[in-house]
Symmetry: C2
Subunit: 150 residues, 2 copies
DNA sequence: GTCAGTGCAAAGGTTTTGCAATTTA
DNA sequence: TAAATTGCAAAACCTTTGCACTGAC
């Protein structure tokens, strides 16, 4: 499946008069192989395991390209940090449940909420294009329940 | 009502062994007088209409203070920009509907969604602490409906 | 007088960009 | 060979901080 994404990338590259590169393939491979949300420096260090010389600029440029061709999506979380995830269009839309204790991020979808969101947009004369919902709380791990009290 | 917020700020300052200052009062006044969401540079330029010499650092420091005492809340939107709004605790919780055409931000609350959010958190063993929901779309203004097509 | 607050400029952190060298088609 | 890609370092942002000075208590 990761290979599938790489194919899409190659198609985009070919269709737009761009050229392939080893670095870009490595970064894309690392990105699509990531469980969920990754930061630039995580991508960089993982990419460097395969090629020591990959630069941070190339990671930024590759992620920008992946965003443009709809394979990646940049997200700004409440904490302010920027993370990338495989685009909704590729792996299905989902929202996030985030633990303030351990940072764990759980993805979920709720059809009723999706419906209500459309209703609300309509009520205000909006044509909905996208949305994000993030729930912040503490998971059931002991240390997280403890942090909650503090 | 803006005066009411200023009073709360004064109370916090007094209770914590801090001192009052003209600049801080001006910035707070500007902030509480803002319709909705403001960026640092907007606050700075509005504050400078009342006192030319106010520095950016003071605006940052004041907004940090207002966040600490629960009067302001910092928000990171999808675009990546950081905006401040009067805290939920002060003006009631709400979510956002944002026009991608003109940038207009509408606040709303939907009890059903709030309920569903709690249900979801519970299903995953989470204790909900906070949440955010942002709907992005195009409002019914002609120019915005047009941008949508592009 | 003491200590918090301020303005300025420098320092931090993150992301983008200019450029010469390299690689792809 | 022409044009895209890369790495590096500089630049561009945004935010925080150190410091000497000012102002509140």
């Amino acid at each position: 499946m990761s290979e599938d994404f790489i194919e899409q990338l190659r198609g985009y590259v070919a269709d737009n008069g761009l050229k392939s590169s080893r670095q870009r393939e490595i970064i894309a491979e690392v990105f699509f192989g990531c469980e969920e949300h990754v930061a630039i420096d995580q991508l960089l260090s993982k990419a460097r395991e395969k090629d020591t010389k990959i630069s941070q600029a190339t990671v930024y440029r590759t992620m920008k390209l992946l965003s443009e061709c709809g394979l990646a999506k940049m997200r700004h979380f409440q904490s302010g940090q920027t993370l990338y995830e495989v685009s909704d269009g590729q792996k299905g839309h989902h929202d996030h449940l985030i633990c303030l204790g351990c940072g764990k991020i759980i993805e979920f979808v709720n059809a009723k909420i999706e419906q209500l969101q459309h209703d609300i947009a309509e009520q205000h004369g909006f044509e909905l294009a996208d949305h994000r919902m993030e729930l912040y709380g503490y998971c059931d791990a002991a240390k997280c329940a403890e942090k909650k009290r503090a």
